[in-house]
Symmetry: D2
């Protein structure tokens, strides 16, 4: 594990050099507190930039019953102050994304007034929205359950969208693939949000049951593929300008927890799984698909999409990498590089990605 | 089972006479097609009125791939025509509620374009909204899954609310208690929708797993109680005028399927379970609760709500019934009335409630 | 749809001729009642044989509160009588599989005594087991929920196994891929049952939420692949004789409901999806995998399995088909064959597969 | 929070003195390591005894890929050694319950061989079983998911029962109410296990989604009531001797995590909720219920059970407490006792209950 935010950027640069598709790194405040001028420079030197800025409104004991939704105005003010601090860090680092996730919620029926908490959140978000750099976007994450167990204040895309509508056009929804009820059709949510021009970004990961934060694409790669298919349909299919623009501006992030596997290879694996499924989704013939859909050819349309997923896109990706001067097999290149050995001197523990 | 809509109203009148709290009955078109002038009169003679009008857009073979979302414009036009027909029936019967549930969805990834289906629905709903009687409301039901298995076009409250926002103030969300993913906090959705002044009505029923349509209150009465607690908080707690008005105008409906138990007693049981839990929710002391919530007294606030649920409100309800000239035990009164025997001559089968 | 069991075998023969891997067809009694000597001959003439015999213990009104678990001894006797009738049909048709699924369960807490129902089932199964042809197997299906909504009498593999243990070695568990709680690891159940030598067969289908009975492999092909990987590990990996024998004797069946797509192509699609994922699972290098597992190489072992799934096995399958004298693309061959047109004269409705 | 196991027993004694129904306290090794002779004496002085002994096989880094199921024999031996150590502690403290929960599982498909892990567990459990004091029982807990995310080695009651069958009669299943898939009928599992004489004990808690470990009875008290109803049916209904004996020997434990509420009142609340629902379940008239079940009176049988739950048993419980010389309202008595203030000098952190 990296011991500080500078080492975190060092590790991320390794992944970017091997894959060519991970040019920015999110920071979490206060975990990644640093001299931000120095950090920006350090990133630039590695060919990276600072991505989303993530406030932390759950670690402090004051936030035990909530942060921006807390019944006590003092705690809410403290939370808003931290949000404003993060807006300043955006300015310092050149970040144009404020990425918000709230651990706010309750554990027991009756514990707090659900509508009053909603009002409290609306107020706080409006203050944060006003404090953001011009042209920056706020992306608001939802989570079906956990760490609060009876209700979470932002439980689903519907609530997140509702907040964004009240704020303005630069407020959008963040979809974390693991934050849904079992059985949820996530790609449908993606399609709806694009159509409303409110899909701001993703946190990618996999899960079997709850918010397991496993390597993306390791439990059900078809879901990731279908998410990409809906994004690409808005970019290359029969679509309107605004939806296309929304689909082109999506921020893609990996948000995982590598408990039993080494961190950098796990991140490489994740990035490669994303790329593989993106490449597969590019194989869909939108015109052909459209025709079969209009004709009600259920099996034909299903096959057009599924067969794109079943293709082996590895040769294609290897050719692309060669063209870009990248290693054909980034994982093997990493394992041979000796980097893992180099970072193991850091010892255990330290800051997370 | 009643053999036609007139017998259906006869049966409903029995429940209303015994409980005093079920004054209106929904009709489903075309199942309940009738001479509507005659039906309105028949209802009035029984002390009832026609409640919500429910179109049926799933029985016809044409709707196999959808109704208002169908890829074929011909089918969509046919669906809109039926919606307009139902608006006319509202005028004929004096109904002021158009209750919409769409079985629209797909069974396979790729089968249809999710965003195009959304556009199709928006168009159709706008036409139906325009055709409604003045002052009437449209209530739009959502359903997490089924009968479509890959995606349903109106999967959750967020989507239903989005459609309503595009239509106008007289479009509201209908919450069916069985139409949620497992683990969903339904009372939170209720609170959010009231706060947006968009909660139009309920379909009550119980379930253990999917859309089981069991007798409301038979598997987890506490959920129904907590839904009522959130409605009553908006009516009697610390609230704003518009939320209060929304909470006062909610349409309460029972939507169940009695497969193994006799129909009229099952409906009586349902109505009594609703009344019992409403009475319990009335026992909450809002001022006391508010104070404990503000003070962060988690166990105190939880106890105030749970202990209201644990009270035996039967003596209170019996006193209320006596005052109204109703039987103290409506179920016993029904069983002794001989009505069950009377309707059993109808034979099996027939129209549903 | 086929109009009778003979046409059903005709259709199945088409699928077998095109794919070469579907040599037997299950029958459902009483739906497929026929002159069984004639049926056996008809099947043989088509290169088929009669597979599992399936009793029906849910259609009759008498079974509303259960069949073998019913509180009334008269109904239980009737159910056992039907089970014995099916054992006779096994003898008549040469079937060696009695495939049991019970719709038994309750809708409400308290409705019946759960332990007494268990005793009733044990008694009935013992009588059926004794009536089976020598050397025939009984396979007992479990289902997490539905059509009973509060409890189902055989809810999971644990209960099914418990019944089998009480019966004898020729009683085994039937796994229907759609009959599990969301989030269940089905391949783990498969591994456990093989290890106990009690995995008798599969009903294949896909689902997103409940028992959707969609085309197998259309929503999450990786699950089917992992099921096959666990079966092949018992056949070709480091294993004991009895587990290997169990894995070799598994009965594979498709149990789906094609509501919006044409029936024969849907069945072809299903069989091809099964074959594709079986071929992929054959690509796993068991020795290499074993080594990485023993070394605790989490990412290496995961990659060995996932990369087998990601391979394009189409060329391999086409070569195999050519060798067997089968069409390289069975679906295209069917569409060109004119068979669909031929069967469409049958009209709608009729017996199910 | 108590700072050591002696203070933990002090706190537990307060709950026992106020309620009269919590005479034993579980210990977790190594968290509660102590001079066991001294601990046994301390407990006796407080009117308590040492309940179940719980090994910990997940905290040590060695157990990252499992304990008794680990691919490496060295780690498995270490785990067995700890199990034997706990058997010795049972002898030292007079405990007659070895309570086992394994965090063993995998995070990724392919990570390990599922059947080999099963064999490893069987071997280890046999060694632990042999090391227990004579007459002591082993209770084996299952958990549907978490902390392992792809598969957990003991995922359900079926697997736990299978292990117990291989061990001997003194091995039984432990049911933790929060360790099931959503929608699971837990009381059915309870009934099955009693009927097999293999229900050893409970870990009580509540949850809305996953393993939330909230106060038992706070989210769905009806489930706890129905569990008790099935236990009482085996004790007082129409039952056999062995099932009755099993039901009488069940070990009841509270296993919760109080994150936002004070610990001792939360435990009091839990114990009172258990007692309230036990008292309600005692109100069921088994003979009357049996008759209605046999007659197929669905609504009558449902009412007999539900109405027992709806009764206000508070007066009854208060009378019972008075008789026993206990405070009529244990929670109020605690709040007035000044004990909370006394323990608050301990500071934050410390050993868990």
């Amino acid at each position: 594990m990296p011991r500080n935010v500078f080492e975190k950027f060092d590790d991320a640069a390794v992944v970017n050099k091997l894959t060519g598709i991970t040019p920015s790194v999110a920071v979490h405040i206060p975990w990644d507190k640093a001299d931000y001028v120095k950090l920006k420079k350090h990133a630039a030197g590695l060919g990276l930039k600072v991505g989303a800025v993530n406030p932390n409104l759950f670690q402090d004991d004051d936030y035990m019953l909530g942060s921006v939704c807390h019944p006590d105005a003092r705690v809410r003010r403290k939370a808003v102050q931290h949000l404003k601090e993060c807006c300043q860090i955006m300015k310092d680092t050149g970040s144009d994304l404020l990425s918000l996730w709230f651990a706010d919620g309750t554990n027991y029926p009756g514990q707090d007034d659900l509508r009053r908490r909603k009002h409290n959140m609306q107020e706080a978000l409006a203050l944060a929205y006003a404090a953001m750099p011009k042209n920056a976007r706020m992306i608001l994450e939802y989570k079906f359950f956990e760490p609060a167990f009876y209700h979470t204040d932002v439980p689903d895309w519907g609530f997140s969208l509702l907040m964004c509508q009240k704020l303005g056009e630069r407020a959008q929804v963040l979809v974390d693939t693991g934050h849904h009820a079992l059985g949820t059709n996530v790609e449908h949510i993606v399609a709806i949000l694009i159509d409303e021009h409110r899909l701001g970004g993703f946190h990618f990961n996999s899960r079997k049951y709850a918010d397991d934060d496993l390597i993306v694409g390791s439990t059900n790669a078809y879901e990731i593929f279908l998410i990409f298919a809906n994004i690409l349909a808005a970019r290359f299919g029969n679509t309107d300008k605004a939806s296309k623009a929304c689909a082109e501006a999506i921020a893609y992030m990996v948000d995982q927890s590598h408990v039993i596997e080494p961190k950098i290879p796990a991140m490489l694996r994740s990035v490669l799984n994303i790329q593989t499924n993106w490449a597969r989704a590019l194989m869909i013939n939108w015109k052909k698909l459209h025709k079969m859909q209009q004709a009600g050819d259920v099996l034909g349309a299903e096959a057009e999409v599924r067969e794109a997923f079943e293709q082996d896109t590895l040769p294609l990706l290897q050719a692309w990498r060669e063209e870009k001067g990248l290693p054909a097999d980034p994982m093997q290149a990493f394992l041979k590089s000796g980097y893992q050995k180099k970072v193991s001197v850091r010892g255990k523990g330290g800051a997370s990605w």
